[in-house]
């Protein structure tokens, strides 16, 4: 009996790994092109191998009838701490925000806990991959460690939201270098909360001029420090290239090489337009790629962003205005404004708890001016492009990884139910801790 069990288990596992699936008669919303009604989609070896009006399945292919259902690419959250932070209030469960000022060698990927309950919760809402950041973030993890002291906090990873191990989940282990770019009147730590430019100007005019001068000095010091570090990294790069006899490997500077080579973008939180402008100009001078996280205003920075082709990742769209007399819908209209200014946009939630709501954030942005198609792109193909993996994920196309969400309606609409979920071509259970608790207590007598 035991033997049979083992045999069965093996059989199932082998089947799942190499399973070929035909999703039949579905309406496909590929993002990459026009919607295709009543088509079939063949998944093999984890990839989408065919999309056509009619596909005759080979023997042994599992057929999923999807008449009246929609197929979307899996959504991507561009700002999370998934796998690194479980319960933000409990230090022992948080692995973001390491000690140390310059820590580019740290890799978020190696600390991702594949059994985090968050993965089960977010993927059943259609989020099949996510950027997970090592820095102190909205989840509050960093307050336990040295997060607030960091200037470079390490490498953010792009991961799938399903897998047995972090290696399994890896899409790109070093998708961005997380840098806390300084801003006037406070570090650019994730979570924003800085004084808006309009108020900063006032501060310069009124009694706290000394405070403003001090803030300027602190800012200049931090920028100088950051520049020094990049200069040193470049010297290291040259020394390495020159094969100097006394060259010694340095793990920190090694980690900086892909950044200097423009292979890995620097991700910087810039709440204020002035911070964004400063960061864009700094990145241009350093000749590195840049992504802006969690802007709270775009305004005068729009031209810089567009000119330098710097994308932005919006934090929570459902956010309060920055100041008392800001428009009530300031945060809701921001993605639409950025899009209209020609800036490439994507969404992030920056708090694990809210990752599952990323489609609804996008919907709010639509209600307040972002075209629907752009909102859908901002959670699929745009982030795939921004993080350099658009050849693999972000749209429903032949040859791409089969990260697919089958729904009974619009994927950005709250009431929509997810019917099937595929990550790397494997059908993933829609069960999680929360559905199990629901079932258990529904049945309680």
């Amino acid at each position: 009996m035991k033997l049979l069990g083992i045999l069965l288990a093996c059989g199932v596992a082998a089947f799942a790994a190499g399973e070929t699936i035909l999703i039949r008669d579905a309406d496909v919303y590929p993002v990459a092109g026009k919607e295709m009604k009543g088509v079939s989609l063949l998944i093999q070896d984890g990839k989408i191998v065919d999309i056509a009006a009619k596909i005759v399945p080979a023997k042994g292919v599992r057929i999923v009838e999807a008449k009246g259902m929609r197929v979307y690419p899996g959504m991507i959250d561009s700002g999370t701490e998934l796998g690194l932070s479980e319960v933000p209030a409990v230090r022992e469960t948080v692995d973001t925000g390491e000690l140390g000022e310059f820590m580019p060698q740290l890799k978020a990927l190696v600390a991702v806990n594949p059994d985090s309950e968050h993965f089960g919760v977010v993927r059943v809402n259609g989020i099949t991959s996510a950027m997970t950041f090592p820095s102190s973030g909205g989840g509050g993890g960093g307050r336990f460690g040295g997060g607030s002291q960091q200037l470079i906090s390490g490498q953010a990873a792009l991961i799938h939201t399903d897998g047995w191990t972090w290696e399994d989940m890896e899409i790109k282990r070093s998708a961005a270098m997380s840098v806390a770019f300084p801003s006037l009147g406070g570090r650019g730590g994730r979570g924003g909360g800085q004084i808006p430019d309009s108020m900063l100007e006032m501060l310069g005019q009124t009694g706290v001029a000394g405070g403003a001068a001090n803030a300027r000095r602190a800012y200049d010091d931090a920028i100088a420090k950051l520049n020094d570090y990049f200069d040193n990294a470049r010297r290291y790069q040259k020394a390495k290239a020159a094969h100097l006899a006394d060259f010694k490997t340095d793990l920190k500077f090694e980690a900086m090489l892909p950044v200097l080579e423009g292979k890995v973008p620097v991700a910087v939180t810039g709440a204020r337009a002035s911070t964004i402008q400063n960061a864009v100009q700094w990145a241009k001078k350093q000749n590195i790629k840049l992504v802006i996280l969690q802007p709270r205003e775009i305004g005068k920075a729009a031209a810089d962003l567009k000119a330098e082709n710097v994308p932005v990742i919006f934090g929570r769209v459902l956010a309060l205005p920055e100041t008392e007399d800001s428009a009530y819908d300031e945060a809701f209209t921001l993605p639409g404004e950025a899009y209209k200014a020609g800036v490439k946009i994507a969404f992030g939630t920056f708090t694990n708890e809210f990752v599952r709501n990323i489609p609804y954030q996008a919907a709010t942005a639509v209600a307040f001016g972002l075209p629907y198609e752009e909102a859908l792109k901002a959670v699929t193909i745009n982030p795939a492009q921004i993080w350099g993996v658009s050849d693999q994920i972000g749209s429903v196309e032949k040859g791409k990884v089969a990260d697919l969400v089958v729904t009974d309606g619009d994927i950005l609409e709250i009431q929509t139910q997810i019917k099937h979920l595929y990550i790397k071509g494997k059908e993933v259970s829609l069960e999680n801790k929360q559905t199990r608790l629901n079932q258990r207590y529904l049945n309680r007598n």
Partner: protein
């Protein structure tokens, strides 16, 4: 000049008594179905609801073609419109303090809540104490003074709190040290201590009440007794025992929810609402039996230890087990999206449109004992109404107009079109300020230029 003001007053006066008709809307009444029709408002009350209504002569018409009309949203758990300090955390029983005393009618959160369709909110004391301060129900009558915000006739309440928050002061190391480790620790430091704190308080309140009852009896008999000493802390708890003040209890875990209901049973009072109640689904049967309402988050979870078993099915599961459930915000931002929070009850647990919408309208009205006045679109109720441009249980929808007592308090078109003028006015003030304040270029030596 005087004449001009008088003329203005005369012109304004009939406005209050004016009749308004909202036409051609999809009317989601919550109580009596959803249909395409109109609502007639007279003297601040709903006078007529139907597919076809008589339009009174001279009525103001609001055309809501292709739009949705719902009852004003009611948030059963909010901390807006206060002065910022909502936790009298120095003692574990702070029933002598009252949120009513610190209402700030100029808190911009009131206007923002309005813009999110909220017309009524239960403003609570914080959760630092086992028994916290007194609470008050407000209407979001933006522009009125503090007194005029109070929902006239609504039963006042008191905040209780269980679990991690009230025991935090007993663990000044942030809960990571041993219980009651340092000398500054404030009892209680455990859930056991929270139970005892509430029992001790009601034990005291019962004795206090007996003293007053005896005094009243003697007075009734024509005697001339000396009245007992008035105790403001126990007075509020006496009102709870007499059913004159609702208990709104912050709670998370099933064990503490059950504990509080048993304490209440022992002392003969009811818990009116369990707030947050994230594990309410585990003891839904007991909650229904006690008769408490449950006011929860739609999908917040895992932000602290007592929230790890929170499930988004909580609201629907408790509903299925017979509990009156509302969805609240506890947050000035979330408060602006309670419509889509209700939408989540449809997603998680399959509530109907009406059941879901009731969770932010009629159900919180029931929980606050104001369902005779608000919570649904029915003849005779207050004309607290919200117009959305799209199906409201969705983030694709936005609020167009909000009426309270028949008066328009928010209008998106007006709000948006007034922005350039407001921006110009602000710039003018900023320019004036710049001229009035001498520039302080350069860094003053010594004290760093910091003043005040």
């Amino acid at each position: 000049m005087k004449k001009l003001i008088l003329a203005a007053l005369v012109a304004l006066a009939p406005l209050g008594a004016q009749t308004t008709v909202i036409q051609n809307a999809t009317v989601m009444t919550v109580a009596k179905g959803t249909f395409k029709g109109s609502v007639v408002i007279k003297d601040g009350k709903i006078a007529e609801v139907g597919e076809k209504v008589m339009v009174p002569q001279g009525a103001t018409i609001i055309d809501a073609t292709n739009q949705y009309l719902i009852p004003g949203i009611i948030d059963c758990h909010s901390h807006i419109a206060g002065d910022g300090g909502i936790n009298e955390g120095s003692v574990s029983v702070s029933s002598m303090v009252d949120i009513k005393d610190i209402i700030n009618p100029e808190d911009i959160s009131i206007y923002r809540a309005l813009a999110g369709g909220v017309t009524t909110a239960n403003i609570l004391h914080g959760s630092a104490n086992s028994i916290g301060g007194k609470t008050i129900v407000l209407k979001m009558r933006w522009g009125k003074d503090a007194q005029s915000l109070i929902f006239e006739g609504a039963m006042p309440g008191i905040k209780f709190a269980l679990g991690e928050n009230p025991k935090r002061a007993g663990n000044p190391q942030g809960g990571r040290g041993a219980a009651g480790q340092t000398v500054q620790a404030r009892y209680p430091a455990t859930r056991m201590g929270v139970e005892d704190t509430i029992r001790e308080a009601f034990n005291e309140a019962k004795i206090y009440k007996a003293g007053w009852d005896e005094y009243q009896a003697k007075v009734a008999r024509g005697e001339h007794p000396i009245p007992p000493r008035k105790d403001l802390k126990l007075e509020a708890l006496k009102e709870v025992l007499e059913g004159k003040r609702y208990v709104h209890a912050h709670c998370y875990r099933a064990d503490e929810i059950l504990m509080l209901m048993r304490v209440a049973d022992d002392y003969g009072f009811k818990i009116r609402t369990l707030q947050h109640v994230l594990e309410g689904y585990k003891v839904a049967k007991e909650i229904a039996a006690h008769g408490a309402g449950a006011s929860t988050f739609s999908d917040w979870w895992d932000y602290k230890m007592e929230a790890v078993d929170a499930i988004p099915f909580n609201a629907s599961l408790m509903t299925k087990k017979g509990v009156v459930v509302s969805l609240n915000s506890d947050d000035a931002e979330l408060m602006r999206h309670l419509n889509s929070e209700a939408g989540k009850a449809m997603k998680y647990g399959g509530m109907s449109e009406t059941e879901a919408l009731a969770m932010v309208t009629l159900n919180p009205a029931k929980q606050l004992g104001i369902d005779n006045r608000v919570g649904s679109i029915e003849v005779g109720k207050d004309a607290d109404l919200v117009i959305y441009d799209k199906f409201p249980l969705s983030d694709f929808a936005k609020v167009q107009k909000v009426l309270i007592d028949g008066h328009k308090y928010f209008d998106r078109d007006e709000e948006v079109s007034s922005r350039p003028a407001k921006a110009a006015e602000k710039q003018k003030l900023l320019d004036k300020e710049k001229q009035a304040t001498p520039q302080r270029q350069g860094t003053p030596t010594g004290r760093g230029g910091r003043i005040g």
